[in-house]
Amino acid sequence: MKDVIGLISANFTTEDMQGLSDERSIASMPFAGRYRLVDFALSNMINAGITAVGLVTPYKFRSLMDHIGTGSAWMLDRKKGGLYILPGSTYGMSSRSDRFLLCDIRQNDIFLRRSTSDYVLLTASNIIWNIDFRPFIRAHMESGADITMLTQRGVRKNPHGRKVHKEGEKVLGISTGVDMEDDVFLDTFLISRELLLQFLDWYSARDYLDIFDILKDDYEKMDIRTWYYDGYARMVFSIDNYFNANMDLLDMDINGAIFDEHNPIRTKVQDCIPARMYPESSVRNSLISSGCAIWGEVDGSVLFRGVTVEEGAIVRNSVIMQSCIIKSGAIVKDAVIDRNNLIGKGMIIKGSSNDIYVMRKEQRIARRAGS
């Protein structure tokens, strides 16, 4: 797929992450025990054979860059193409959720101008999916459309999602907020490189708008189509989205579809000793990452690397991030615990299934190494 270059937007945020994204971008949110959200966009791109990918970074890019490192995990450490780290505008600092800010693209237009590829695949960095982009790309190329938007039937209400309004096959516009059965825009679209560069020229005065906002008056004139994806896909805009997507992976079928060994989701390699379940432990229906040491009970939960669950401690229906320690007798239920937290002896942390408790990082212990 030398004909297509990728552009991943990681310069947006929301306020609905209850503090989990205060010091990191949504793109670098830890997920499913060892991944970060941006892994999905990057892996899907390279699994489709795209070898030149631009990543528009948020202002707070340290945690993202720590993760991305060399790009070698995604085989993007290359002479031709490779991974381009592109600074996003400071506009992304305000909790605005526009995914494809014109100014983010303009200030990195060199990435587009330097390329010789015909098409650009743009996608957001907050989508959990394992999609083969190739049929989508083929459909766009064959249709000759100006833009092809990737959509899916809505599976739940989401105030942050974007609904596509269509008349027959023709896209008339989008609006924010989606419901079940709506055509949901999966924040992924194909456009020719030339047309995208033209947009930058035409709308040079309107930097602080999303590319789909500036299109408002043009939907009529342009050939904008949709392409329907029926695989698993979830977008993360809020703590609920985040929690539910983690829990979805306890479903064998979804887990198998997302972590397909033939189209692997790649992430940064870290050396970590294997997970260790001790004689008295009880573990069920959970993801237990390497470096975990389990003496207690874990059920219906996702444990990131290096989590310790001591004897008699109970973790249920929760997401526990890296290097947390759940001391003996403590109980954690319906919660998301950010990294480096210590849940003291006998302490009880409880949310409820429709109001997940969130503990921000390093709340209970002196600051430790890590991010």
Binding site: A32, G33, R34, A73, L250, M252, N255, I258, F259, P264, I265, R266, T267, V269, D271, I273, P274, A275, R276, M277, Y278, P279, S281, V283, R284, N285, S286, L287, I288, S289, S290, V302
Partner: protein
Amino acid sequence: MGRKKRCIAMLLAGGQGSRLGALTKDIAKPAVSFGGKYRMIDFSLSNCSNSGIDTVGVLTQYRPFELNSYIGNGQAWDFSSVDGGVFILPPYETQTGGKWYKGTADAIYRNLGFLRKFDPDYVLILSGDHLYRMDYRKMLDDHIRKDAIATISTMRVEWEEASRFGILSTDEDGRITKFEEKPEHPESNLASMGIYIFNTDTLMEKLVEDAKDENSSHDFGKDIIPKLLGEGQHINCYQFSGFWKDVGTIPSYYETSMDLLSEHPQFVLTDDKFPMMSNSNIYPVQYIGEKAYVENCIINNGCKVMGKVRNSILGIGCIVREGAVVEDSILLPDCEISFDARVTHAIIGEGTVIEGGVVIGDADGEIAVVGNNERIKLGGEEA
């Protein structure tokens, strides 16, 4: 070509390790999996990397493909690639024909050009299949302080085991006075770990001499060291303290592995300052199913456990289906234990599938071993 090197390592990884039977039928012993995610060679390579040695020659000969692919350019162990790195050194053909490595000393001899290229002051000679954590800098410091021409790393072993090793005697300064390869009646319990440091000049000179000697078996322990001692050369004994093991047989492989499941394992895998590194692919997080039962286990990335697993080590990417039972066993990477199969007191090779209902091993018998990439069916084996 960067600076002159102080010390480079030559890692002997050519052996088959035939006493590991089915486990080394298609791969070299240093490539055998250990602890579910490591391979034997990880320990020596990690030791080198953690000891600040940035150049390693790996001498291969027996079925090196898996090993070569695994080592790659050594980046997984933080070997840099500009000034040094890891170099695979297979036997090769010259204008006068090709020659296989005839012994450990011969293998180094055939690669004197490699030594000359890097021109180090000292050469560290290692085996690629030992399990230990060692900072070679301490041994090198000792070698330099004692002003010896060679240093052998040693440790005390049980007296009853001593006749399995090269056994040495020393004077009070640690200078070696006697060396016997596998003596029937050992005079001491100080055993060579097969780890040598040589002054490069001496090494080169002695290897050239040895190559001309038609009676030599071209082995460090059997030929080079005794020869040097016979000449009255100063060979220093470095005493290592800590865990070290040459896992050479199925029972010792099994026991050493299972010890990782004890409350206080002898060999501790984790150490932030001196980490054991490995070259892992990305596998998803360990999945423990709704009906799974897991007790006292080590479980690696990519495992999916739906059945029952007790006192066992599951290598990366293993699958234990519903109704399957794995007890007191070691599953090497990418095994699948199918529905209602039962694996007890066994070692199952990499990529092997135990089909539904098959029973492997029993608690009281010998350790059952199934080789790599087999498919075991009910009522008979099929490759």
